[in-house]
């Protein structure tokens, strides 16, 4: 991940992705009394991935609340708190456990404002440590962002860098509606420049991480870094890939993607989730129904996860999701017309 990391070193101060999130939470709690954290083992334990770290020492157990192992109830408590004037940040220990709380997320948080004809808002943030690569097998490695991306009433973001992790989280906390943040576990230890103090990264805006002319790669989360690495290799072969970091899944930044594809005429979508019905399906479909269709010189290629639960064996696990070599090969074939 060296190449990728380098492109991020534009500033001076470096933090890990986890530290950036922690800083955002601390800033928000300092600025706004209503903000508090809820989750399993986020207090003295510091969170399963040490994201809350020592915040409980700074803000006390009332604002860094350990919950029992009760995902459905805990999510519901967060919804009720958000509905009545607080600004909870709810951490799922692993995004896989959101399967227990879909009721509250989807039937309540997402729809409450609509069902009540605008009488309420639910300013709720939920954080989902997601993705594979930790050897934790099928029930601790899923990428389920497409599910929530399918739900009107939610906003869904997937920051790929420490800077965006902080900026998008601050934006989410200040957003009046429920925002779901998918964080890739392998990114937590990744370092990058993070501006000091308070700033927000706009929800709903993709970011062109690398300009290029020969093809467009739209990637999400950790795949942004793999795509950037592949792009460096492609440059070695004279192929200039434009790499777009989608950043927000709902609402999607159609404009940025469409403009890029109109320019490059070729589109590769890279995402870790299971390929079928993953985010790449939506990106592909939105291009295929847009004015960019007429600019396409080749089929739209998707590189997503294999159609399997995440296996335990590390080699199998790696083979399950796109890797740099695979992205490189797919992009090269796409750019050079090999089918």
């Amino acid at each position: 991940m060296d190449a990728a990391t380098k492109t991020l070193e534009t500033g001076t101060r470096e933090l890990t992705y986890a530290q950036a999130i922690q800083e955002a939470m601390a800033i928000a709690m300092e600025r706004d009394e209503r903000v508090f954290l809820m989750g399993e083992d986020i207090g003295v334990y510091g969170g399963a991935f040490q994201v809350s770290g020592d915040l409980v020492e700074r803000f006390g157990p009332e604002r860094v609340m350990d919950t029992p192992i009760s995902e459905l109830g805990g999510a519901g408590v967060a919804v009720g708190a958000a509905l009545t004037g607080l600004r909870p940040i709810f951490e799922f220990q692993f995004s896989d456990f959101a399967t227990l709380a879909m009721e509250q997320i989807v039937n309540q948080a997402a729809k409450m404002r609509y069902m009540l004809g605008g009488a309420v808002s639910v300013p709720l943030v939920m954080r989902f440590p997601a993705g594979s690569g930790t050897g934790a097998a099928a029930q601790h490695s899923q990428s389920l962002e497409a599910w929530l991306g399918h739900v009107p009433g939610l906003k869904v973001v997937q920051p790929a860098t420490p800077e965006d992790a902080k900026g998008l989280l601050l934006a989410a906390i200040e957003d009046p509606d429920p925002v779901m943040i998918f964080e890739h576990k392998l990114l937590y230890k990744m370092k990058g420049h993070v501006p000091e103090g308070h700033y927000t990264t706009p929800i709903g805006k993709a970011d062109i991480r690398r300009p290029g002319t020969d093809l467009t790669i739209v990637a999400t989360s950790i795949m942004v870094h793999k795509a950037l690495e592949a792009a460096e290799k492609l440059a070695g072969e004279g192929i200039e890939a434009e790499v777009i970091d989608l950043r927000t899944i709902r609402p999607m930044d159609r404009r940025t993607i469409i403009e890029s594809v109109c320019k490059t005429s070729r589109l590769l979508c890279v995402y870790e989730a299971v390929k079928t019905l993953g985010i790449g399906a939506e990106i592909s479909a939105l291009i295929a129904e847009s004015e960019a269709f007429d600019y396409l010189d080749a089929p739209i290629v998707r590189l997503g996860g294999a159609e399997t639960p995440i296996p335990y064996n590390p080699d199998l696990e790696k083979a399950t999701v796109p890797q740099v070599d695979g992205i490189f090969a797919a992009a090269r074939d796409l750019a050079t017309g090999v089918r």
């Binding site: 805990g74 408590v77 009540l116």
Partner: protein
């Protein structure tokens, strides 16, 4: 706890009067009766409008359960909040909502509480503290705990009451929510309106304990059983739980034993219970009849007074339906409005 003490044993001379006669003045007691009538006539009006095709979808009527809704809410202020259920019209009215806007909602109009987006199953009136009915059995219970967390954190002094049915007590959400309310000592009152059935499934067939209040022990909170058809019993248990919650002593689980006269919803063939059972409740345990008899016995109202209330309510209902009919329907162009909070 109030246990199974019978209101009928009270004497009119003061001391031993049932709770509400000690607590409330005559105007308030008559207002409670008016609300019970309002609920019943509202639901009869809604039912008729449904039959006549003016309301679509489905609805769940709480006719027979009026004392529970009204009695539970008597000790709550407008700032105190409730979460309600699919069978939530009574709670909504008891908490203070305007039947005009409720009818408008059922008719799918923009003047409705949910601007026609929610209907019966999502009826809410945030201004009187009703955070909403809920289409998900048990869905409102953790939300109420969250609202109570707000009350505690912001030190508002408010209490939150969560209504749910006997069927809901077998949902995981019930368990998780009660446990959290208990460990955090939150100001919330859990009200299980046990009408004997979750849809067609009797409590005996669905629930391992005989009395749902017995489950309170699993959360180290008081469990109270009340006759949900006797207003004073309901109000007394509710008041104790509210006081306890407001004093920072934590939650209570109240089981209110009651009965619904109508089928579960509009698709019910009523095969799971007998005609005799229904008639027994209607004829000898009707909450409005019981309360009226008591009020008359204690000389708080007479037959004419009751009729006056009935007629006044009748007018209010008719006006409400008329208001709903005359109100405008939402415009299709606004379909995607209210999905997100619009920038101010």
């Amino acid at each position: 706890m109030t246990g199974k003490a019978k209101a009928g044993t009270a004497s009119a001379n003061g001391r031993n009067l049932p709770f509400i006669y000690r607590r409330y003045d005559h105007a308030q007691l008559r207002e409670a009766l008016r609300k019970m009538h309002l609920i019943r006539q509202f639901e009869e009006g809604a039912e008729e409008s449904y039959m006549r095709g003016l309301i679509h979808g489905t609805m769940h009527l709480s006719i027979g359960q009026e004392a529970s809704a009204v009695g539970m809410c008597m000790g709550l202020s407008n700032e105190d909040q409730i979460t309600s259920t699919h069978r939530g019209h009574g709670h909504c009215i008891a908490k203070g909502a305007d039947v005009k806007r409720m009818f408008a909602e059922f008719f799918g109009k923009t003047t409705g509480y949910c601007r026609g987006r929610g209907g019966s199953m999502h009826i809410a009136d945030v201004s009187t503290g009703n955070l909403g009915a809920n289409g998900i059995v048990g869905g409102g219970i953790p939300i109420a705990v969250g609202a109570a967390l707000t009350a505690k954190k912001l030190k508002t002094g408010n209490v939150v009451m969560s209504f749910f049915g006997d069927g809901a007590n077998n949902e995981g959400a019930f368990h998780e929510a009660l446990n959290m309310a208990a460990i955090w000592k939150l100001p919330v009152v859990f009200v299980c309106e046990n009408n004997g059935y979750g849809m067609s499934t009797s409590v005996a067939r669905s629930t391992a304990v005989k009395d749902i209040a017995d489950r309170a022990a699993a959360y180290d909170m008081p469990g109270v059983i009340v006759d949900g058809n006797t207003l004073s019993e309901v109000a007394e248990a509710s008041q104790q739980a509210i006081d306890r919650a407001r004093a920072g002593e934590g939650p209570t689980l109240i089981e209110s034993k009651t009965y619904r006269y109508r089928g579960h919803s509009k698709s019910d063939r009523n095969r799971y219970r007998s005609k005799e059972e229904i008639e027994e409740w209607m004829n000898s345990r009707d909450p409005i009849a019981l309360y009226e008899a008591e009020l008359m016995e204690f000389g708080i109202i007479d037959r004419a007074g009751i009729e006056a209330i009935h007629d006044e309510v009748e007018r209010e209902i008719a006006e409400g339906i008329e208001f709903a009919k005359q109100s405008p329907a939402p415009e299709i162009a606004n379909l995607e409005k209210y999905v997100y909070t619009e920038p101010a």
